[in-house]
Amino acid sequence: MVGIGALGVVSAAGMGVASLKQALQQPHFQAPLGLSRPDGPPLPVVTCTGFDTKGILPPLVARRLDRPSRLLAVAAKEALAPWGPELPWPRDEVGVCAGTWNAGTDALVEILKAVFTAGPEEAPPMHFPNSVANAAASQLGILEKLGGPNLTFFEKQASGLRAIVEAARFLRSGRAQAMLACGVDEAQWLNAECFDRLRALRKPHRPGFPLGEGAAVLLLTPNPSPVVIAGTGAAALPTMPHRYPESPEALVAACHKALAQAGLAPAHVDLVVSLANGSPALSQLEEAALRKLLGSHRPAVVGSVVEKLGEGAFSSALRAAVAALVLGGEVKPQWPVPQHLQAHGFPSVAEVGQSPRTALVTAVAAGGACVAAVLAAS
C-alpha cells in the first residue's frame, strides 16, 4: 500500500493547499500571465507572484537557495508539517523523488552570461551547484536532513508524475519508510523564449500552452491513508524528442498497466484529471486515448489545471495532488471540462452527484514517454 499522507503546494493560485482549493472552487479562476524579459515583451508564463519564504525558511537559508529549491522547500515544509519536528520515521529512511523540466536554468544562464560577456574566470561559483537539475531535491535533503534515496527525474512535462511513480516504487521495495514525491519548476525567461521560438506557447494569434512554475509535494508512506496510490504504469511511443506522439496507444497502455496494478477495470474510473494544456495535438491525443480506454464510460473530469496554473513538470504532480484532494472529499472543483472532452459527453465533477472513489492521472512528455497513476479513496 502507498498512502498519500499529506500534501504541500506552491502555485500561481497562492501558497499552500488551501489557496489551491480556493482556486479550484472558482469557475472563472485564471492566474495572470506574464514573465518579463530583459530585452523583449513579456512571455505567456504563469508565475507564483505572491511566493515568499518569510516565516517559513530562515532568511540565511533562503538566501543561499535558488528559486526552484525555495519553491520545493516551502511546499515540502507544508507536507511535513502534520508530523511536527519529530518525524515518525528515521530521517535516513525518508527519501525524495523530484521531477523537473527546467530547474537549474536560471543558474545556467547566469554562468553562461558571465562566460560570454566577461570571460570564464568571472563565472560565479555560487551558481554552479544550482545549475544541476537535482539541486532542488538535494537542497531539500540537506535542509530537512533526509538521508534516504534522493533522485530527480527528467521527462519533460511528465517528470512530476514520474517522480510520484518512482517514489511509490521505492516504498514498495522497502528502500524507504516515507518519500517526498514532488514536481518543481521555475519561470525563467530564456527557457520560456525557447518554447516561444518553437511556437509552443499560447499567443493571441495561435493556440499553445502557458508555461508555469511552482512545486507540488505528496508525502507518501506505507501507512493507511484516506487516499492511496493504487496503481502506476508507464509506456512510450518513440517520437522525435520535441514532438508529442501522434497515436494514443502508449498512453492507453500506461493507463491499462496502472489500472491492472490497482485491480480495476476502466469502467471503475470515477474521475479523470485532464492533462490538456491548450495544445491541439495534446488535446487530440487525450481525447483519443480516453475514448479508446473507456469506451462509452464517462467519468467526471477536472479540467484546465495546466491551462490555469501553467505547464511543467510541477503541474503533472499538481494534477495528482488535485486528484487526492477530490477523492479525499476536500474540494469539489468548479473548473470547466475542456472542450475536446466536453464534446464527447464527459461531465464535470459538479455535474456528477456521487463523490468519486477512483481517479486517473496521466502525463505525456514530448518524445513519447507516457505515465499514468490510479488514485483511490480507501
Binding site: T117, P129, N134, S138
Partner: protein, 402 residues
Amino acid sequence: MFSVVVTGVGMVTALGLSREATWGALNSGKTGIRPLTLFDPTGYRSQLAAQVDTSALQLATIGEKARRHACRASLMALAAAEEALKQAGFDSVFGAPWPVIFGGGAAGLWEAEGFFAHRLTRGPQARGLTQFLEVPQDVVADRVALAWRLTGERTTITTACSSSALAVGVGAERIARGDAEVVLAGGADALCRLTFAGFNSLRAMDTEPAKPFDRRRQGLSLGEGAAVLVLEEENHARRRGATPLARVLGYGVTNDAFHMTQPEPTGSAWARTVRQALEAAQVAAEDVDYINAHGTATEQNDPAECAAYLQVFGERLARIPVSSVKGAIGHCLCAAGGIEAAITVLALYHGLLPPTANFQEPDPACPIDPIPNRARKQPVEVALSSSFAFGGNSAVLALGRA
C-alpha cells in the same frame, strides 16, 4: 526476485570509440586526457579534457530520423547502444517493450551554447531554433528509444555524477522485481562550457591530467562519453543462448544530506551507501575483491572515499584492489557511473583489473592498493562500483562474476 545479468556492453570514451578500444587502452595505462579542442579553453584554469572525436563515430544501423539534429551526447549514446545490443546478440529489437533507463547530463548544451552566446550578447533578434532542441536531459534516452522503436517505459535520472550508476541499479531492480525482462541502462554526457566554467570556478580542475589517490593530485579532469548496458533476466538470456558477462547483485542509494558540493569528510555517509549495496546484494564485506572507485582526484573526495571504505572493510581494505579510471577517461560526470559500471563488468568477465592512471606517489590519507598504471590479472567474484555526486546523491553498485 529474479537474477539479473549483463549480456551486452557498449562504450564510447576518449580512449576509444568502442568497448574494446577503451578497454585495451585503459589497461595499458594510457590516458585520453589531452588539450581540449571542442571550444577555445582560453581563460580556464585547465585546458585539458578527455574529449571524444564524435565525428569518427560509426553508426552503421542507426536511421537518419534518429540522428537528425542529434547532439554529441545522443550520438555517443546511440553508438554505445548499438555496440551493446550487438554484443548481447539481439538480431531484431524493433518495437521491443524494453525500458530505457538513462542518467541525464548536459545533453545538447554545448550545441545550445552557441545560440545562448548570440542571444545573451545580441538580444532577441539573434537567430536560433535547432541548436536548443536537444537541451532537455531526456533527449538522449528519447533518441535511443527512437532508433530501435522501443516502447517500454523511459526514465531519465539526473543526480549529477551518480545519474547513470543509479540508472543501472534502478534498471536491474525493474528486472529483479519482474517488471521487465530486458532493460537498456546507462547514460551519456558531453563536454560544454557550462561544466568547464563551473568546475573552473570551484577551483576543482587540475592543470595536468587528473591523478586519483595520488598525493600530488590537484583536482579532476573533465571527460565525456557514453555507456549502455543490456541488463537481462538470467533465464531469458540463457534461453536465447546469450553469454552473461556479469551479474548485477544489487545497489545502494542514499543521500548524505551534508553539502551541495562537498562530501561528508568522515566517510560515514558513503559507508552507509556501501553497506546498503552489500545488503541488497546479500554479500558480506569479506566477499568483495575489487572496488572501482569514484576517485575524482579532488582534494576532498579521495580521502573521504577511502575513509568510507575503511569503515566498511577495516584493515582488509589495504588488500582490496581499488582503482579509479578518471585519470584515463576523465570525469564523465553524469555518464561516469555507467561507464565505470561497464568497466567493472569487463573486469569481472576478463579477470583483469583496470589501473589507476597517472599514479606515482601514495597518499597516507588514501590507504589503498590503487593498481598503479598497469592492469592486473586477478579473478574477481564480487566487485563494487561507486559513484558519489553533487548534492550528496550516492550510489554503489554490487556486481558479481557470471
